[in-house]
Amino acid sequence: MPATDTTPAAPTRPARARTTRSGWVRFAVALVLAVAAVFPLLWMLSGSFRTPDDVFSPSLLPAHPTLHNFSYVLTQVAFPRYLLNSLIVAVVVTVVALFFHSMAAYALARLRFPGRDTLFVLIFSTLLITFPVILVPLFLIVHTLGILDSYAGIIIPSIFNAFGIFLLRQFYLSLPKELEEAAIVDGCGYWRVYWKVILPLSRPVFAALAVLFFLANWNAFLWPMVVTTSTDLSLVQVGIAAFQQQHAADWNFSLAASTIAALPTLGLFVIFQRRIVESIKTSGFK
């Protein structure tokens, strides 16, 4: 550290002592806040193991822990079906979106064509148009296309989002030019360059974006609810909301269902925490 070079040794010692003390204060404050932040999630987890007469008990742990709530929602409600639907939708959207977005981003970052900057600004400006605002016209368009109440109706409109194009373009801009020039001189077409050079390099960004896309689609509620009417097509969030409305008093079941829906997202977060954090940070500036 430059500071230790410029200041004599003696004054740094109290300074260091002070930082560690303030460090421990920070630690204590952060600990209290972090416990408070995750407490509601732990409360859900605890509630999902409770019996109906115990579900509102203020004790931290269930009095008679039971797995019955889980077995009930997984057998007596069409919950496995909802989970499967959500899995299908989230995986398909994620894979297709990564593919399309990286193609578009590659063209915007690495190829020269007239109107490129205008097109980028146009694409970027669609970020201001958020989903709920266009919910009504989008519904009418999807109705006109005849794909209401189908997987296609849930999936196709969920694919297109400028955020992914934007992040991937930033990444491709940062790659050295020589990379694909060598390949082009070797006589590779642009598709080969994209497929053999760009895509393999994209893996780390893809991992982060894939997690974000998967989470967004797994957690989606509004569009899947609006576009589907048959319960066979219900996604997991729609299923949970509907179940809770119909069984308002059965909190033990609702909490078990919520826990099942939340665990995959928390798991993904724990595994990919560093990547998620990095991609959110880069989305914040430049």
Binding site: L33, D117, V277
Partner: protein, 318 residues
């Protein structure tokens, strides 16, 4: 999909080869390739984002009955808006909501970022804990809090009761429900904006603080004269994006926690649009309100750009 795109690409290359001289074809091929690479996303964005935006504005001038008839009614939807007490009420609710939520979220996320910007034991774990609510769906978030705020028996009520504080009906009282939604939203979103603040804080050279410390500047002075000014682009970005997402988001949470009630006290404008369209089938009227929101967002974004001149987050290279 892959096969189709490859096929297109091949046939396109073949076509350009036969038609043009090799010298011209290099640039032409590059353009053609760019077009094909961009086609899926550009078409998709045009059809599922751009077109709906246009339809939204156009439909605002129509009355739509069920699915069949579209009748042009000029500005009637807009006249109706400003004579509709429920719309005006939800506009007022939304303003109140944003005026508290946006600064609240800003301060809480900045405070968390400042708290954990320096390394200390388990700091990564704390960062994860603050962010964790953000990976859970708003439906589940809403259910958890509806459960914890249940009258008489909910956890929050019990704990307050333990300290001798008697709880009102948190979600049943028109004066309180909106603030519960605000609090839950801050809890849900703080981790996300904290991360963006952290990224902004990382960009501030550490030497500035070291020099300031040597000069005897206190913690507050360092914040006031180093952190705050250098964080302005990040703050701008957060003000802009959080307003857009909070003005147009959160339907899930409202739907689950309060359904817009009690007495319409949590009927945010975006929820009102949803209700008008999908509960009452008023697609034209809902579109007009949607167009109105887009106009507000535009004024807000342009105004923020003009006021702060902080919108330099896109000086694209080359």
């Amino acid at each position: 999909m892959t096969g189709l795109a490859v096929g297109e690409r091949r046939s396109a290359r073949g076509a350009s080869r036969t038609r043009t001289t090799p010298r011209l074809s290099r640039r032409g091929r590059e353009r053609l390739a760019a077009g094909l690479f961009l086609a899926p996303d550009v078409l998709g964005l045009a059809l599922f984002v751009g077109l709906p935006m246009v339809v939204c504005i156009v439909l605002g001038f129509f009355q739509v009955d069920g699915f069949g008839g579209y009748t042009f009614i000029g500005l009637d939807n807009y006249r109706r808006m400003f004579a509709d007490p429920l719309f005006l009420g939800s506009l007022k609710t939304t303003l109140l909501y944003l005026v508290v939520l946006i600064p609240g979220l800003f301060v809480v996320s900045l405070a968390l970022a400042l708290l954990i910007r320096q390394k200390f034991p388990l700091v990564g774990l704390f960062r994860g804990a603050f962010f964790a609510p953000n990976v859970i769906s708003l439906v589940v978030i809403g259910l958890i809090w509806k459960f914890m705020l249940t009258d008489q028996t909910g956890f929050v009520v019990r704990v307050l009761g333990f300290f001798g504080i008697s709880s009102p009906s948190w979600l049943g009282s028109p004066h309180l429900a909106l603030w519960m939604v605000v609090a839950v939203t801050i809890w849900f979103a703080m981790g996300y904006y904290m991360l963006i603040f952290l990224a902004g804080l990382q960009d501030i050279p550490r030497e500035y603080y070291e020099v300031a410390t040597i000069d005897g500047a206190g913690v507050w002075q360092q914040f006031r004269h180093i952190t705050w000014p250098l964080l302005k682009p990040t703050s701008f970005f957060i003000l802009l994006t959080s307003t857009v997402s909070m003005l147009t988001g959160g339907i899930d949470l409202i739907y689950v926690m309060t359904s817009g009630g009690p007495a319409n006290s949590t009927s945010l404008i975006i929820y009102y649009i949803y209700e008008q369209a999908f509960v009452y089938g008023e697609y034209g009227y809902a579109s007009a309100i949607g167009a109105f929101i887009v106009a507000i967002l535009l004024v807000w974004s342009v105004g923020l750009f003009a006021l702060t001149r902080g919108g330099r987050f896109n000086d694209a290279r080359d």
